[in-house]
């Protein structure tokens, strides 16, 4: 017997990355802007998305959502009340969504197809990830924009505690700003921490309850969707 070293140089998540690249190409071909919303459990992803779907539909945009949870279809039912097509993904214990799960749930989804083109009927596809600030950061879902979310009830140092997610995000959303005062939320510190981890990132300060800050978010979405560099 003799010993030898075999060079492999292979990405551990190569399979996911390849599937995500395929998804990205299909989103681009269909002209749909896809966003991946990531936060801790309880940040308010679903409430934020409910309002986003409802208002975008009211403005004439075609929107749909995939929502990930370990169990239950509660979130899908809440989101579907907006009138948008919604599909629940139950991961049954897995702490993140991956590209294979997304592909499987998009396959044959007639409500979002148009003229035989999968997703061809959409302007925006939102993916609400499993509530977790760690694992989703490793899994590319082919999204154009990864959104890191943080509520005013969570503590201003969350970006410092979870730098991987905040550093890989394209935009940051602060939720529940209607509660900022009673929670003693230190806005300057929170904004400073986000910028320390992801310098120059776009930050939206919002309340899904009052609608504060949502207008800037919708303007951003429209600009990103219209951006020629996306397609």
């Amino acid at each position: 017997m003799s010993t030898r070293i075999v060079e492999l140089r292979r990405g551990i998540l190569k399979k996911n990355d390849e599937l995500a690249a395929g998804l990205r190409a299909s989103y681009t071909a269909a002209g749909v802007l896809t966003l991946n919303l990531v936060s801790s459990p309880g940040t308010g992803k679903t409430a934020f998305l409910e309002r986003t779907l409802r208002e975008l539909r009211a403005r004439g945009s075609r929107v749909a959502a995939l929502v990930g949870d370990l169990e239950t279809d509660n979130d899908a039912r809440r989101l579907a009340a907006s009138g948008a097509p919604v599909r629940q993904i139950n991961t049954h214990g897995i702490c993140h969504l991956d590209a294979e799960m997304i592909g499987r749930h998009l396959d044959g989804w007639q409500e979002v197809a148009l003229g035989g083109i999968p997703l061809g009927g959409l302007d925006y596809l939102f993916i609400e990830n499993v509530g977790n600030l760690v694992c989703p950061s490793s899994y590319d879902l082919g999204e154009a924009i990864r959104v890191a979310m943080l509520s005013v009830t969570e503590g201003e140092d969350k970006p410092l505690k979870y730098p991987t997610l905040f550093n890989s995000a394209d935009a940051a959303v602060i939720t529940k700003i209607d509660l900022a005062e009673p929670c003693g939320f230190d806005r300057e510190t929170a904004l400073g921490n986000i910028n320390e981890i992801r310098p120059g990132i776009r930050i939206f300060e919002t309340s899904a309850k009052t609608g504060a800050g949502m207008e800037a978010w919708f303007t951003y979405l429209a600009e990103e969707r219209a951006s020629p560099s996306r397609y």
């Binding site: 070293i5 760690v134 694992c135 490793s138 997610l165 310098p199």
Partner: protein
């Protein structure tokens, strides 16, 4: 806590590559993991024997080489290594850095095997004799 699914992917990739070395036993698997890759080396090492059990990787060591974050600093015109992941500023000039050169890697670099006599081995280009 997605380390178990990560080590399972590692075992699958190495097992697939091992078909070129029939009868070989794996002694060690070496990873390159960026400091911002969101995996904990100790958790990988803890989960590894579970995923390796009953495969040709059973009993092998997992060696995790953690790579520091390297950013490009535009004002300095060079790549700079960060001391941690709490601030993405150039350690020399203090300016914020946005272009990452290294830090999110998650790669199987190589593995070491005990192999059968050379006469029984198929040809393979990607090997380094030691």
């Amino acid at each position: 806590m997605h380390e178990l699914s990560i080590v399972t992917s590692i075992v699958e990739s190495v097992t697939e590559s091992l078909t070129a070395y029939p009868g070989a036993r794996v002694l060690e698997v070496r990873l390159r993991v960026g400091a911002l890759a969101s995996v904990v080396p100790e958790s990988l090492e803890f989960c590894y024997p579970i995923a390796a059990e009953g495969t040709p990787l059973e009993g092998s060591r997992l060696v995790v080489n953690v790579l520091p974050v390297v950013m490009h600093c535009a004002p300095c015109g060079q790549d700079v290594e960060l001391e941690g992941v709490q601030s993405f500023r150039c350690p020399h000039c203090g300016e914020p850095c946005t272009q990452m050169r290294q830090g999110r890697e998650m790669e199987i670099e190589s593995y070491e095997i005990d192999e059968l006599p050379k006469s029984e081995l198929p040809n393979d280009e990607a090997e380094v004799k030691i």
